[in-house]
């Protein structure tokens, strides 16, 4: 079992799937709707662009088709024409786009089960730290770009409120997402929700305020983006000479669309907020680590999932520098209590996918290196003491599953 899935409980004492909350239904529907609008909008805009390209005669001085394609490709990937025209715009734009690429790849971990893509999963796991730092470049690039658009007169006069709205979203979304990372959202539960959406087997969404804000803002961006001029594919300027000023017919069409669909969209987007406001959000406090060290049995997996790194790290430097005092100071104790036995009754090591830590860490694509140095199996003499030690609910459930399988 390399995928600890809260949606499919084991045969033993794991809790049954709770009924879907209104918030979860609202956000599930919102996500589907926003995704549909984005995809449909992109398809329509691309079709219109291709039609425009076919209509516009190619500039005779622009070289062969291969050359134009190369330049268009270099524009999309490297923002080449921007580099040669405006260095600062290139720097900010490149930071934004590469940051966005890294962040999007990092987000793939939520929507893919490890088994679905085989060895590509390891690539996603490897990419995770790059996505973390991409997430810093992303809002920085977007913020500086937005600043530049506002401060420079030549850019300000061609930027309207819709563009500002999109740029505001592009800055706000990664900042909220980053805050969510730093506050340790329960990524296992988030992934369960996301997989639930992908497999149409819905799970409750964790009512984390930062997470809900992030998802809502992303939905708004997905809905707004197809209507935005920012999508008018400036990189393709080499194939199609698009001016930076708004094209008159395009602006009229856009305002018609906005007036037609705008109110309905606003209602759809505000509905989930209303539901959240109605039900309220439960805020999970950080636990007191001193008491946790003594006894961290809990029936709420979310609390340990969110806080176990801080719990572990709060202790390790002190223990490394002053020595192992009580048994709980040592990883040996964690490993012994949380040992999972295989079919032969032997505790498994970290190389085995059923190891206690691998269950969540594999599914969340979070690499840990504790067991590069620490022993991941209990000492042979400790095996006899395994059954007498207190166990967590999850540990018990997993152990019971293994025992039942024997």
């Amino acid at each position: 079992m390399d995928d600890f899935d809260l949606a499919t409980p084991g045969p033993s004492a794991a809790p049954a799937v709770p009924p879907l909350t209104d918030i979860s239904i609202a956000f599930a529907l919102l996500t589907y709707f926003a995704f549909a609008v984005l995809v449909l909008g992109l398809v329509i805009q691309t079709w219109r662009l291709l039609r425009e390209i076919r209509r516009t005669p190619a500039d005779p001085g622009s070289g062969s088709i291969l050359g134009r394609l190369f330049r268009a490709g270099a524009d999309v990937v490297l923002l080449r024409s921007v580099f040669f025209s405006d260095r600062w715009a290139w720097i900010f734009g490149a930071m934004f786009h590469f940051g966005l690429l890294l962040v999007l790849i990092r987000h793939l971990r939520y929507f893919i089960r490890p088994g679905w893509v085989g060895p590509l999963w390891d690539v996603i796991v490897l990419e995770q730290p790059f996505g973390f730092y991409g997430g810093m470049a992303l809002p920085f690039g977007a913020a500086c770009w937005w600043l530049r658009q506002t401060v420079l007169r030549k850019s300000r006069i061609v930027t309207d409120w819709a563009d500002h709205a999109v740029m505001a979203l592009l800055v706000a979304i990664p900042l909220v997402g980053y805050a969510s990372t730093i506050s340790h959202t329960d990524v296992v539960a988030v992934k369960a929700f996301a997989i639930g959406l992908v497999t149409f087997h819905w799970i409750n969404i964790p009512t984390d305020p930062l997470l809900l804000t992030h998802l809502w803002l992303v939905a708004v961006l997905m809905v707004v983006l197809p209507f935005s001029r920012l999508l008018l594919l400036l990189p393709f300027g080499n194939l199609l000479h698009i001016e930076s000023a708004p094209i008159a017919s395009d602006a009229k069409r856009r305002s018609r669309l906005v007036y037609a669909f705008g109110p309905a969209l606003i209602l759809v987007l505000l509905a989930p907020l209303a539901i959240v406001g109605h039900h309220g959000i439960v805020h999970q406090d950080r636990p007191d680590f001193a008491s946790l060290i003594a006894d961290h049995r809990t029936d709420d997996p979310t609390m340990m999932i969110r806080n176990h790194p801080a719990f572990l790290f709060s202790h390790r430097t002190i223990v490394t520098h002053t020595g192992v005092g009580a048994p709980i100071d040592s990883m040996e104790r964690c490993v012994t209590c949380h040992a999972v036995k295989n079919a032969a009754g032997q505790p498994v090591g970290f190389d085995d996918p059923s190891h206690f830590c691998r269950g969540c860490h594999n599914t969340a694509a979070v690499t840990i290196d504790c067991f590069e140095c620490h022993q991941s199996k209990p000492a042979p003499g400790a095996q006899a003491a395994l059954d007498s030690l207190p166990r967590s609910a999850i540990g018990t459930a997993l152990k019971a599953e293994r025992v039942a399988e024997q």
């Binding site: 070289g63 291969l66 050359g67 190369f70 330049r71 580099f83 040669f84 025209s85 730290p129 290196d369």
Partner: protein, 418 residues
């Protein structure tokens, strides 16, 4: 102040320029694969041992880092020392400095046992460790080269030209001192603990760096099919590198002579200088003969007056000699046994009392050469997109215009794209 020269980028995306870029890229890619192989299997797959923990990759890394600070030399001569003839070469010099440092640090970082923990060097710093200081010194050097190049390329920022150049010049001296101190501060090994190490490295940086710059400049001349310097400047280059090589040789000679005098270092000096091992061969035949004496002859004797080949050959030899010296210094110093009981014969199961065997492995060589690959990629791409190559030196007062498309080079084939 001075007549601004015109600058250009490399002319077009020709097959040749793609080939060169891809060749360097392949070297870098191979080094990446070698690093992944070392990382996943552990360092036992290399030739590095418990007694010789730093091997061929570190030799290349030290070489590249020392060369990086020296490559900035030409730009400093043009700006800080106000020798106007060198000024048009300043941009290429700064680009090369950035590229060589990137190559050297690439090797060091990928060779770390836990490279994924690199950022810990910023979170946790030990103020007594020169390594920790170097982490910050190198980053600031990168920033200073970028600022220097930016100032050079932007006409509106010309009032920052001297301050940026001076800052970069002073910083690079500090950087090389820090690099030399990595060895100089080592108490453990008689071959290293010496105050002359940082100074020797500064001298080496001057000769190796300027030599590598000359090679790069001549390579671009060959590639572009047009001269980047005048014959008079070429002769001045020859004399300059000749003098710098003499200074380096002097430093190394003083280091070894003084050490020979000190009774406590006589054993290690005899090992390095006279033992007939690979280390003494590399020192005498590699650094002294091939890397110093022959180049000085080539450079000072007026053969091929105004032609490029004496400079190119001499610069290449100086570079190879510098690499040989690094090998002898770093690995020779490690291979000599630790003197736990000076004057007494020692033996153990852990290679005490004997010269530690070290044979570099293929993956180490690939990783080391990959540093040059990274440097090459950076230089090629920099020359492609930034106007760093001087136009006709002293030709006229054209304004620097990076937006202007470059003229096709004189005798290059027709570009296939663009």
């Amino acid at each position: 102040m001075h007549a601004p020269a015109s600058y250009s980028m490399l002319g077009g995306y020709t097959v040749r320029s793609w080939a060169v870029l891809l060749a360097f890229g392949a070297l870098a890619g191979a080094a990446g694969l070698a690093a992944m192989y070392m990382e996943s299997n552990g360092h036992w797959v290399t030739g590095m041992t418990q007694r010789v923990p730093w091997g061929l990759p570190h030799v290349f890394a030290f070489f590249l880092i020392v060369a990086a600070s020296g490559a900035l030399n030409v730009a400093s001569i043009g700006s800080v020392f106000q020798k106007e003839d060198y000024q048009p070469l300043g941009r290429l010099s700064v680009l090369l400095a950035f590229a060589l440092l990137a190559g050297g640090l690439f090797i060091l970082v990928t060779d770390l046992g836990r490279a994924d923990r690199l950022l810990l060097t910023i979170q946790y710093t030990n103020a007594t460790s020169i390594f920790a200081w170097n982490v910050f010194i190198y980053q600031i050097f990168f920033a200073l080269t970028v600022i220097y190049l930016w100032v050079m390329m932007t006409p509106g920022l010309s009032r920052f030209y001297r301050p940026a150049a001076t800052a970069a010049f002073i910083w690079r001296l500090g950087m090389t001192t820090g690099t030399g101190s990595v060895l100089g501060f080592l108490v453990a090994r008689a071959a290293f603990r010496s105050a002359i190490m940082p100074v020797e490295f500064v001298a080496l940086s001057l000769s190796i760096g300027t030599a590598l710059f000359a090679l790069t400049m001549l390579a671009f001349e060959r590639f572009e099919g047009r001269p980047l310097t005048s014959p008079a400047l070429l002769n001045r280059f020859r004399r300059l590198i000749g003098i710098l090589v003499a200074v380096s040789l002097y430093m190394v000679a003083v280091q070894h002579l003084t050490a020979l005098y000190l009774a406590e270092r006589r054993d290690v000096e005899h090992f390095i200088l006279f033992s007939g091992s690979i280390y003494s061969v590399l020192l005498w035949a590699g650094f002294v003969l091939m890397g110093s004496v022959v180049p000085m002859l080539l450079l000072f004797i007026p053969i091929g007056n105004g032609r490029a080949w004496p400079l190119a050959v001499a610069a290449a030899l100086v570079g190879l000699g510098g690499l040989a010296l690094m090998y002898t210094t770093v690995i020779g110093g490690e291979a000599f046994p630790l003197e736990l009981f000076p004057g007494r014969l020692v033996s153990s199961s852990a290679f005490d009392g004997v010269v530690a065997p070290y044979s570099p492995s293929f993956v180490e060589a690939v990783l080391g050469v990959g540093g040059f690959g990274i440097a090459g990629v950076v230089v090629c791409m920099g020359a492609w997109v930034l106007p760093v190559l001087p136009g006709h030196v002293g030709a006229g007062a054209d304004q620097v215009d990076p937006e202007r498309q470059p003229h096709p080079p004189l005798n290059n084939p027709k570009p296939i794209i663009g």
